[in-house]
């Protein structure tokens, strides 16, 4: 009789142990981070690529780079990109050396989740030159 009592107690202890294991598993799973939402980043990247393509349609981007007209490049991006988006543009030559002497940006990207798109721009001058244009974008606020 005493043996049966002990068996019953063991089962109850087992049950409580099982509960503890399951709930601790649940608690652990809650603390796991969810998968990041990449849709906004994809949308920004798509917008950035399309903006650079539009600016380069009739050779405008290449001409502005050759003229080192960084102010007009910033103005063009201000017009083409929707308000509420921060951008920073870096232009490198074939050797990877940064050519824009001035910072081309509308606001600081520090602390923001930014996406970066790269675009290769060929000038339409007699001597064709290639530039790698890197546009970083982030939502403001």
């Amino acid at each position: 009789m005493a043996m049966f009592d002990r068996k019953g107690q063991i089962r109850i202890i087992e049950s409580f142990l099982a509960i503890a294991v399951v709930f601790s598993a649940v608690l652990v799973s809650v603390t796991f981070p969810s998968a990041p939402d990449l849709s906004k980043q994809k949308s920004l990247a798509s917008m950035g690529t399309q903006t650079l393509m539009t600016l380069d349609t009739n050779g405008t981007l290449g001409n502005l780079i050759l003229q080192q007209n960084w102010t007009d490049i910033k103005t063009a991006l201000d017009i083409l990109l929707p308000t509420g988006i921060s951008f920073n543009l870096t232009i490198c030559d074939e050797n990877g050396t940064t050519v824009n002497a001035e910072v081309i940006q509308n606001s600081n990207l520090l602390g923001r989740e930014a996406v970066s798109v790269q675009y290769v721009c060929a000038t339409r001058s007699q001597t064709v030159r290639f530039f790698v244009v890197r546009l970083q974008l982030a939502w403001m606020g």
Binding site: I19, D37, S39, Q50, T60, T75, A76
Partner: protein, 358 residues
């Protein structure tokens, strides 16, 4: 009752409770993740739909030009466009409800063929112009009007070159000017006092950084006459396939002239066909990277008018209204820069679940 039975019953109850709580807990924990995954997939799908709308021509490919045609599949791209995101001028124009050949949202929705999605399309110029009449004075035989133009995009000033026309009956005067880096520019226009009636000021602007970035503003005022009646009072203008259809609202309307204006050019339009209520004019295919505006001048009794329409007929909005959507429901918004006849425009598409507006 033996104590072993009590133990077994107790243990079974605890196990059942354990299994049930585990199931409920798992379900509660997983639900938001599954919902989020489903919505994330929706966002991707909407992004593809937005791209599909702007990168495909639809069926038939030239549905924009066929006035009797409702497309069996929806796409706004120009046929054989040399670059992506170049839209057909007539497909865009048929989205404007003020055009007599416009399509209803239900027709567009059916042509898109996605039954569980509703959408809204808005097309506008990349930046806006505001026109203000600053002063008006008489100098000799003419009245001189001074206007202030502000070019801006969401408050951001834009430096532009301006081309302005004033049209009054058969009188046309062109003025070139510019807006400075603060986006503001002024110019004066003289109109002889020998004419009177409704005067229409058209202002075309091209950003100095890139002439493809263009905008348009209009301002109607009475010159030695009462304030003008709203646009469309005397005639309804509908451009399509480089033909301007003018439907006259009154039998007493007498049309004197139809003209087309762009940033660099203006021409008189030649009559193609004419009936009692309708006149059709041929529109020349100009290569100017600018919106074009057609102006119809004439009189109705003693009242002169200057009716106008832009081609492509923008700004426009069509589609479901998402302002009354259920709170918390996701709406995906995509902005693209598109080219229509060399000029750049902004198109905003909004996508969401099926609403009752279809």
């Amino acid at each position: 009752m033996p104590s072993s039975s009590v133990d077994t019953f107790l243990a079974s109850s605890v196990m059942i409770l354990l299994a049930l709580s585990a199931m409920v807990g798992t379900s509660k924990l997983m639900t938001p993740y599954l919902t989020d995954l489903a919505q994330r997939d929706d966002t991707g799908r909407f992004q593809h739909l937005a791209s599909h709308l702007l990168l495909t021509t639809g069926t038939p490919a030239n549905w924009g030009q066929i006035t009797s045609s409702v497309p069996s599949s929806l796409g706004l791209a120009k046929v054989s466009a040399p670059q992506p995101y170049e839209l057909d001028i007539d497909k865009v124009t048929r989205l404007n409800s003020e055009n007599i050949y416009s399509l209803a949202y239900s027709e567009l929705w059916q042509a898109l063929g996605v039954k569980d999605a509703s959408f809204h399309i808005e097309i506008r110029t990349l930046f806006q112009l505001s026109i203000e009449l600053v002063s008006n004075s008489t100098q000799g035989s003419q009245s001189v009007y001074e206007f202030e133009i502000t070019a801006s995009k969401s408050g951001l000033p834009i430096s532009t070159r301006l081309s302005s026309y004033v049209v009054l009956r058969d009188f046309v005067n062109e003025t070139m000017s510019s807006t400075s880096s603060d986006g503001v520019g002024t110019f004066e226009i003289g109109i002889p006092n020998s004419v009177n009636g409704t005067a229409l000021l058209l202002v075309f602007a091209q950003a100095t950084v890139n002439p493809q970035m263009a905008s348009l503003g209009t301002y109607s005022f009475g010159h030695n006459s009462d304030d003008p009646l709203p646009n469309g009072t005397f005639a309804r203008l509908s451009p399509l396939d480089y033909v301007l259809n003018a439907t006259l609202n009154y039998t007493t309307v007498e049309v004197s002239k139809a003209q087309v204006f762009t940033f660099s050019y203006n021409f008189s339009l030649s009559v193609r066909t004419q009936s009692i209520h309708t006149i059709e004019y041929s529109i020349p295919r100009l290569l100017d990277a600018s919106p074009r505006v057609m102006v119809l001048t004439g009189v109705n009794g003693s009242t002169s008018f200057a009716e106008f329409v832009a081609y492509p007929q923008v700004p426009l909005q069509i589609g479901a209204s998402f302002s009354e959507s259920i709170a918390g429901s996701r709406i995906a918004v995509y902005r693209h820069t598109v080219a229509i006849n060399s000029a750049l425009y902004e198109i905003v598409t909004k996508w969401g679940g099926l609403s009752g507006d279809v």
